[in-house]
Amino acid sequence: MNMVSFPPRRSRGKVHVPTVTLAHGGGGKAMKDLIDDVFVAAFDNPLLASLDDSARMDLLDLAQYGDRLAFTTDSFVVDPLVFPGGDIGRLAVCGTVNDLAVGGALPLYLSCAVIIEEGVSVDFLRQIAKSMAATAQEAGVKIVTGDTKVVNKGACDQMFITTTGVGVVAAGVELGAHRARLGDAVLVNGLLGDHGAAILGARGDMALQSPIESDCAPLQGLIASLLNAAPNIRFMRDPTRGGVATVLNEIAEAAQVAIEIDEAVTPLRDEVRGFCEILGLDPLYLANEGKIVAIIPPDEAEQALEAMRAHPLGRQAAIIGSVVAGEPGRVTMRTIFGGRRIVDMLVGEQLPRIC
């Protein structure tokens, strides 16, 4: 863990009851004890330890990494809170770290705001905070400020987490969906749809024993080596909700280009394919939490692919398609069967088909 030794300014509080009650949100000693015992203990770092109303960062210190600040926020309401391959804490760190990283930023600091339903066990809260701390260390970021609210039973589903992230973009890194050009390659860093399938499987209401684990992982390392290998990379996005299909549509729309992908080379785990077959779902729309879609100019595509494959989180990276001549804004797929179909945006949520 990222333990920065720093003399605590005061003695650290401790929670002695098994579950969170409304008293822990009341602003008094119970709340301070909860914050100390659960969050400060796990996230321990000098910026947080002072528990001031805001964390303050040195501008000169930030400026050594680049010339622009990147700033993003995301809320996490996943059900179930713990799933194969991760939990809401890991997800809350990865999600925001990855949003910063795909924008070309080096992720540095996170905030953590937690809304807790009364009755949640304090031990469980500690487990989630530890998971956040471990993931933050993996991602090289510090959680430097936060907030805790406790709400009545039924007002939220056990726990919601919001993380906000600050990062710095190195000089010269220019990324944008509108920069995609004819001939550019479309890369992904591995097997698609694992997170979506893992969550659906973990909900347990479809009587399917799925061994699928979420791909939830912080991608700043993979992205740093990708930026290095392909300096003229046009754009990256993490295909979370809505999956790869949605991201490709956003790119095609923004750049007013057509994109075609090839089903035969799109990396999918057999378990995810089987899962989708049974439920009538399309893996292209399943969420990912450790994947990026990258648009790379053709002369840098091979080296980008090599750089991805050299990284532990990109072993199964693939070039799945390219920017082609065609109706602007349209995404198509060459199917495994030899046909072509349109890959459109989803209208709502994917719903399993009746038969």
Partner: protein, 380 residues
């Protein structure tokens, strides 16, 4: 993936497409007078779009996407009835996922859920029965929907509930039957179809004998087809061979799953629990005689329709909708006046825009490619 990839083999597809082209040339059909084949089942429509089968076929074949999507053909009044049942505080209303979005005249089940109704998505009627066991103080209603494919599973669930003496479980029965529907299409004066791909999963239950009248009286060939893209291509090829040889028969391409005699146990359960209705209302097609089933008197306690006295109002399809003409192959989805304008998957007016298996929604979402080609051709 074994037993799946074999049925998506590109090399075999190429061979079949060449054979189909050769047969079409012999039959003497071309673009100006394309051969029209209807796939009755929504599952086929889905596969055809999912794998781009339509675009691989020569333009002298036109696939007409039939009425076999039970979600699409559900009339608005029945959705209103669902919502009325779901709004009762004691009810847990359970449904297959894709029926959640079907619009009623007031709201869909998805909206009803957002407004506080206890609507839950299940994957089988048995899951709904399990909910009834777990919640003895609540009334669990399952939205029974689908053709003969899903009918046995709801019938068996009712029989199971009876055996266990479960009193807080009922079915809102909207099951429909395929044969009267095909007959209604065959009887329509503007029909232009040359043959049918039969719904394989319905035949898994009812066998192939119930279709004999199509060949005998209407002189149209049918091939009962599986749902993988190679199944579909092979079935089209089998149909063309019949046409080329002047035959008119009910053939079974899907014999690996659908035996000629169907499934006697399933049919027995269906006959025990359900009986034919005099008529049933279809979205897009209107009222069709004997095209639906209801729960028999002996199982009245499991019939939500009797338990809750649903409003059962008839709500006419919007006037602008041309679903009926699309279903019969008279016009293509994009030739409908409201396609993609007033009628989209977000705000469906007509039945065929509702589910991803509906012809219009499938064109809107996946299609376009062959359509573009047609547009380009007509512009040139």
């Amino acid at each position: 993936m074994r037993y799946v990839d074999e049925f998506r083999d590109r090399a075999k597809a190429d061979v079949l497409v060449k054979e189909i082209e050769r047969l079409l040339a012999r039959i003497g059909r071309d673009e100006s007078r394309p051969l029209q084949i209807m796939e009755v089942c929504g599952g086929h429509t889905h596969s055809i779009f999912r794998y781009g089968v339509e675009g691989m076929l020569p333009k002298s074949i036109e696939l007409v996407h039939g009425p076999g999507c039970p979600v699409c053909v559900l009339p608005m009044g029945r959705v209103d009835d669902c919502v009325a049942i779901a709004e009762r505080p004691e009810v847990i209303f359970t449904t297959f996922g894709d029926a959640m979005r079907v619009p009623g005249s007031r709201k869909s089940l998805l909206q009803a859920k957002a407004d506080g109704c206890d609507v839950r998505m299940v994957y089988s009627p048995m899951d709904a029965l399990a909910l009834a066991r777990k919640n003895p103080a609540r009334e669990v209603v399952f939205f029974g929907i689908g053709f003969e494919t899903t009918m046995p599973s709801t019938a068996l669930t009712v029989l199971q509930a009876e055996r266990e003496g479960i009193k807080n479980f009922s079915i809102f029965c909207n099951h429909i039957t395929i044969v009267p529907t095909i007959k209604a299409i065959l009887d329509s004066p503007d029909l232009r179809l040359d043959g049918f791909l039969g719904p394989g999963h319905v035949s898994m239950v009812i066998g192939d004998a119930p279709y004999e009248f199509i060949a005998r009286y209407y002189k149209k060939p049918m091939v009962i087809a599986g749902f993988e893209p190679l199944d579909i291509l092979q079935s089209i090829w089998m149909l063309l061979r019949q046409i080329d040889e002047g035959r008119c028969e009910i053939e079974n391409q899907y014999a690996r799953v659908a035996p000629a005699g169907g499934n006697a146990v399933a049919l027995q359960a269906v006959a025990q629990v359900y009986e034919l209705r005099e008529f049933f209302e279809w979205r897009g097609l209107g009222s069709i005689d004997h095209s639906g089933v209801k729960v028999r008197d002996a199982y009245a306690g499991f019939d939500a329709e009797r338990k809750y006295a649903v409003p059962n109002a008839r709500i006419a399809d919007p006037k602008a909708c041309q679903c009926g003409e699309v279903l019969k192959g008279v016009i293509k989805p994009w030739q409908c006046k409201v396609f993609g304008r007033a009628c989209t998957p977000e705000t469906p007016l007509g039945a065929l825009m509702v589910s991803s298996e509906g012809a219009c929604a499938a064109y809107y979402q996946y299609g376009g490619i062959k359509r573009d080609r047609d547009d380009e051709a007509s512009a040139a």
